[in-house]
């Protein structure tokens, strides 16, 4: 049984309970009174980029629309500006819930695979943990070539003037493509991360089981 089918079985017909138990700050979802001030305060233009503004997501959770919520790209578009939290009359930690939803959808393998924010987050993590330092050149190239070689070249050409400007200003070193700078104690970093992974694995396993 996959992680998804296991939890779906456990919380059959009670998606709100699933969110409350599994999503960080999920127990706040029921406090929403659908005033709409979060959506109205959101700086991202969700009507072209997002499927569902926050208070619609919260209503969908209460309506049990599990598939639509967890596969949605909406929560991945949150820029953490905190406008919604500041203005929410119920003091609901909306930003945290958006990230909590994204994390949960990712954890059980429901998140949209090629959603740009999710893809970039994975890329960034791999990049930063590999040598202990972020290699910005490799990171941006990785993102450019996300949708294939042809698209990658197109993206690179479009950003050409910016890249040249950065090189001239000494903010980008093309030699970074070959190795790049590293942190001194790479072994130590990897050991530390291994320990953190283990702690997180145990915690999440307990949460999924509990």
């Amino acid at each position: 049984m996959s992680a998804n089918t296991a939890v779906a079985e456990k919380y059959r017909n009670n998606f709100l309970k699933e969110i409350e138990e599994q999503v960080e700050m999920g127990d706040w979802v029921k406090m929403c009174m659908q005033c709409g001030v979060c959506s109205g305060s959101c700086p991202t233009n969700f009507q072209s980029a997002w499927d569902h503004p926050p208070q619609e997501l919260f209503m969908m959770i209460r309506a049990g629309k599990r598939e639509e919520v967890l596969t949605s790209s909406s929560m991945w578009n949150c820029t953490s500006c905190y406008n919604c939290i500041v203005r929410c009359p119920r003091k609901i930690p909306i930003t945290h819930i958006m990230h909590g939803l994204a994390e949960y959808a990712h954890r059980i393998g429901m998140a949209p695979k090629m959603q740009a924010t999710r893809f970039f987050s994975g890329l960034f993590w791999k990049n930063a943990t590999h040598t202990g330092r972020v290699n910005e050149l490799k990171l941006s190239l990785g993102l450019y070539f996300k949708d294939g070689f042809v698209q990658g070249v197109k993206n690179g050409m479009a950003m050409q003037s910016v890249a040249l400007g950065l090189v001239k200003a000494g903010r980008l070193n093309v030699l970074e493509l070959f190795g790049g700078h590293k942190c001194k104690d790479q072994k130590g970093i990897h050991a530390m991360l291994a320990k953190a992974y283990e702690i997180e694995r145990v915690r999440k396993a307990a949460k999924m089981a509990g």
Binding site: G36, S39, G40, R90
Partner: protein
């Protein structure tokens, strides 16, 4: 006027608005002696500042007139205006209350002829009109003022204007030597009816009150609509005096908001529904109201009032808490948000935005002398620890006029029971 005899069979009522007047009269009409303390120069409170009441849309002068007639005909109520309670000592059946009385500089000889007002030149802000306009520094507080007697603003005392006022008075009513005094009043029970204040709209930062002239509060809108108000009853917007035909009402401005007031202020939905009538009445052609709301709470039995407004084609309802208000190049306030029925963004300009501000209890943040239990919003709660200090009206909850009167009558009955016990013990 501050000379009087009060005993521990007296009931002291603090606040001379609709609740305090009601409590004082109900108690006095059962034969009790009452001292009524009001901090403003005239009775009537916020009720007298309304243009009309809901649901019948009659003028508040009507209800006040009945109460003022009862008051004039009842020698058992002593009214102290410009007076504030500064301390309460003692316990049930035996309180000593300190009352600070500010000078009015006008005595009982005043006939309200208005000669002093014509003589004085200095203008001061008019709090009765929420400072939307100014009046002379010698003034009658409002058209219905009780006592019907002028007041001199303290700022002109010691200036030539004060002497001009004195010279103009034919009745010897102006006494420039009056001083602030503190008197002690004995009382068996105290009714605390200090009412409410509109929530400070400037604290709701995204709505721009204080930054944009054409964003006003619901209480200010009442004054704009009133014939005795600063615009003579014309709904003109503050920035340029243009007729405000397209008015937006933003509900829950402060209320039901953990960042501002936790409670539902209960009256604001009805107040805005009522105010859409003002827009239609003043602009029979082209008047337009838009109500932005979370959900309409037409309290009690007023659902039919709501349904009638819903059927009005000049009124639009948008289910959305407005996220922010900005101003366009013509000085029009612009509402931004998302209509939760269909999740559509809107950016809509209006002539005027009216914030339906919440009710904050007047006792909040003020040190009521003595121990008083209050709830998380600051409203007085009924608690045995309060002794014989009873809350009444909007000091106890967010209430409309009707419910405030009921609450005041209940408080009067509790106070009467206390002084009856005192009387029995002493007989």
């Amino acid at each position: 006027m501050t000379e009087h005899v009060a005993t521990n069979e007296t009931i002291l009522v603090v606040g001379g608005g609709i609740s305090g007047m009601t409590a004082a009269l109900e108690a006095a009409e059962t034969g009790k002696n009452v001292v009524l303390v009001e901090k403003n120069p005239a009775l009537g409170g916020r009720t007298s500042q309304l243009y009309r009441y809901f649901p019948k849309l009659c003028h508040p002068t009507c209800g006040l007139e009945i109460n003022l007639r009862r008051l004039k005909g009842n020698p058992r109520v002593r009214v102290l205006t410009l007076a504030e309670v500064s301390g309460i000592e003692g316990s049930t059946g035996n309180y000593t209350v300190s009352v600070k009385v500010k000078p009015r500089y006008v005595n009982e000889n005043c006939t309200a002829c208005g000669e002093c007002e014509r003589a004085v030149e200095t203008m001061v802000d008019d709090p009765f009109n929420y400072n939307l306009g100014q009046h002379k520094a010698a003034f009658l507080p409002n058209a219905m003022a009780y006592p019907q007697r002028f007041v001199l603003d303290p700022s002109i005392i010691g200036t030539p204007d004060a002497d001009k006022a004195k010279a103009a008075c034919k009745y010897g009513a102006i006494d420039l030597d009056m001083k602030e005094e503190t008197i002690e009043v004995k009382a068996g029970a105290v009714i605390w009816a200090t009412g409410w204040q509109p929530y400070d709209a400037a604290k709701i930062q995204p709505y721009g009150y204080g930054r944009y002239k054409n964003v006003i509060t619901s209480v200010e809108f009442e004054r704009l609509s009133d014939i005795h108000g600063p615009t003579g009853g014309k709904i003109l917007r503050p920035s340029d005096g243009k007729e405000a035909k397209n008015v937006a009402f933003i509900q829950c401005a402060g209320s039901r908001d953990e960042n501002h007031l936790r409670h539902c202020s209960r009256i604001c939905c009805m107040a805005s529904l009522k105010q859409t009538h003002y827009v239609r009445e003043k602009f029979p052609d082209g008047g337009k109201s838009t109500i932005y709301y979370i959900d309409i709470r037409a309290i009690d039995r007023f659902e039919d009032f709501y349904q009638k407004v819903q059927a009005d084609p000049t009124v639009t309802f948008i289910k959305s808490k407005v996220a922010k208000v900005t101003e366009d190049e013509n000085g029009n306030p612009v509402c931004h948000g998302v209509d939760t029925e269909g999740y559509k963004r809107y950016t809509t300009a209006h002539d005027l935005v009216v914030l339906a501000v919440g009710m904050e209890p007047s006792v909040k943040g003020i040190n009521i002398p003595g121990h008083i239990a209050s709830d998380s919003s600051g409203f007085i709660e009924a608690d045995p620890a309060n002794g014989a200090v009873f809350g009444a009206g909007c000091a106890t909850n967010a209430l409309d006029v009707n419910r405030a009167v009921q609450s005041a009558t209940a408080a009067a009955l509790r106070a009467i029971q206390v002084v009856n016990k005192v009387a029995k013990a002493e007989a």
